[in-house]
Symmetry: C2
Subunit: 343 residues, 2 copies
Amino acid sequence: MSVKRRKVLEVLDGKCLTPPPIWLMRQAGRYLPEYRETRAKAGSFLDLCYTPELAVEVTLQPIRRYAFDAAILFSDILVIPDALHRNVRFEEGHGPKMDPIDADGVARLSAAGVSDHLRPVFETVSRLRRELPAETTLLGFCGAPWTVATYMIAGHGTPDQAPARLFAYRYPKAFDDLLAFLADISADYLVEQIDAGADAVQIFDSWAGVLGEEEFARFAVEPVRRMIASVRARRPAAKVIAFAKGAGLLLKDYRQSTRADAIGLDWSVPLSFAAELQKDGPVQGNLDPMRVVAGGAALDSGIDRILDALGNGPLIFNLGHGITPQADPDHVAALVSRVRGRR
Amino acid sequence: MSVKRRKVLEVLDGKCLTPPPIWLMRQAGRYLPEYRETRAKAGSFLDLCYTPELAVEVTLQPIRRYAFDAAILFSDILVIPDALHRNVRFEEGHGPKMDPIDADGVARLSAAGVSDHLRPVFETVSRLRRELPAETTLLGFCGAPWTVATYMIAGHGTPDQAPARLFAYRYPKAFDDLLAFLADISADYLVEQIDAGADAVQIFDSWAGVLGEEEFARFAVEPVRRMIASVRARRPAAKVIAFAKGAGLLLKDYRQSTRADAIGLDWSVPLSFAAELQKDGPVQGNLDPMRVVAGGAALDSGIDRILDALGNGPLIFNLGHGITPQADPDHVAALVSRVRGRR
């Protein structure tokens, strides 16, 4: 650890920094020509995730360009089902696919070999910690059990996660078992990332928005609470950001119930509500990624509104969802300098 | 009008009925074998919408089976872009497609001929009013400008409406013009439905959930407010249900800002929040359609929770989104009898 503390960690401790630290979800991605060049060297997308040399390279690319305050491990939330032998593949233009799981399949799931399968990820993390500037926070991550389960049940991405919702209604016991199983192996996975050198971790619950009140409590809150408790039982100082996209009003008790240090906010979260949430602790977000594509006044006004609403509390500036391939790298530079230029 | 008042209209006037009236979004649909039979007689999906004899038949089918308290005109929100010569087509298994519009295209839009194009719809409405039981409320509907615009801009359905969000940031003036134009012709369309015999109308803003706070005010609230004001200026007694799916917390002021009589709630709206919203007026919703697919305990408990939370205020029982083709017609029968059986 350098003399200067890592800014994202300071905010996770509740400090208000001006300007706020900034990183972008999916910052190592297709909008960068150097990413596309490295991507072309790997066979499949999973090969890229599992080849430390390449994964380190793409993780570092946006840090070199923009000196973001955090680097996030380049990987994918679906390495967990891949480690569970669900035959995960990423087909160009079709999104991820895997063998759909049924209630019997849930009963047969085993954690054996998962950690070995994911060893290249831990290798990537430790190389990154060595190669990153001392002041850059290194974030590990994984998917939340609900979101990972939606892919495992459908066998692919779905617009409204109907297959998982239906499975949960039809087989409540098997579904609870699946979430608990995923929570436990994901907690192990996060502990190993922390041990390899991750300063903090983020849990992505990308599909939390389709859950009703009771389902949110059972499928989004409880498994993430279980994960965080399991990680902290072993690594008491672990710092966790939880991002429940689309959870809206249900974010109110999310931090307290899950014990996350910070909560991520998507761009649909009203800034007035975000400011209320910030009274209870650090928040991260929440610029609409389309503003980065548009650039100009749409980008500037979006940034200013967030800084006006949330800049006087503990804030990690970020997008409200991953940056898209269409984003212009020059717009990202403008975003970073505007966030940092304000006092 | 019969001696007995139509129940949905009574609730729209603020009355609390026990049991609440019930209808289901997309109740005339593929889950019914008789629908599939009639559908097979029409060439394209739009032919079905524009052939009064067939559209009347499919609208009546669920009323015959379940005696729902409301029938909703069988049509589609995309008849508006179709009437605007956007080359709308419904390809089996691919969802709707149309020619994407650009900023220049917005400037060239004309309302000429729209009403003539939609005449078969008005014919369907007037035939329905004659053929429906006197106690059944007849609902007309249209899409909200934001939702219709998302299809017109992308040229097809999209998971997160990114093309329309981007268009709105890049061409704010053209986008405002498009929404105002759609609001005005949609208001005309609703007035003609009311004149043809619709007792009330519903405005569907299916994609309201991807908007930030300021965008929701500009793109979801303002155009719908404008539509309702335009309808009421001509038909002061018009009754309107506004359904902004995914709007969450932003529903708080939605009724007051748009002047809708009732607001529709999707299944992700927490019931405690729904009860708050109900203090300001009637609400409609909000069972997860997947519960109807699952049936059994998942269906029963979902119904009971809604009735417990909202049954003592003005409520129109409905799903939180359209019923899906997988739904078992027997589960729909069980749903209706459970809602009606409770006192």
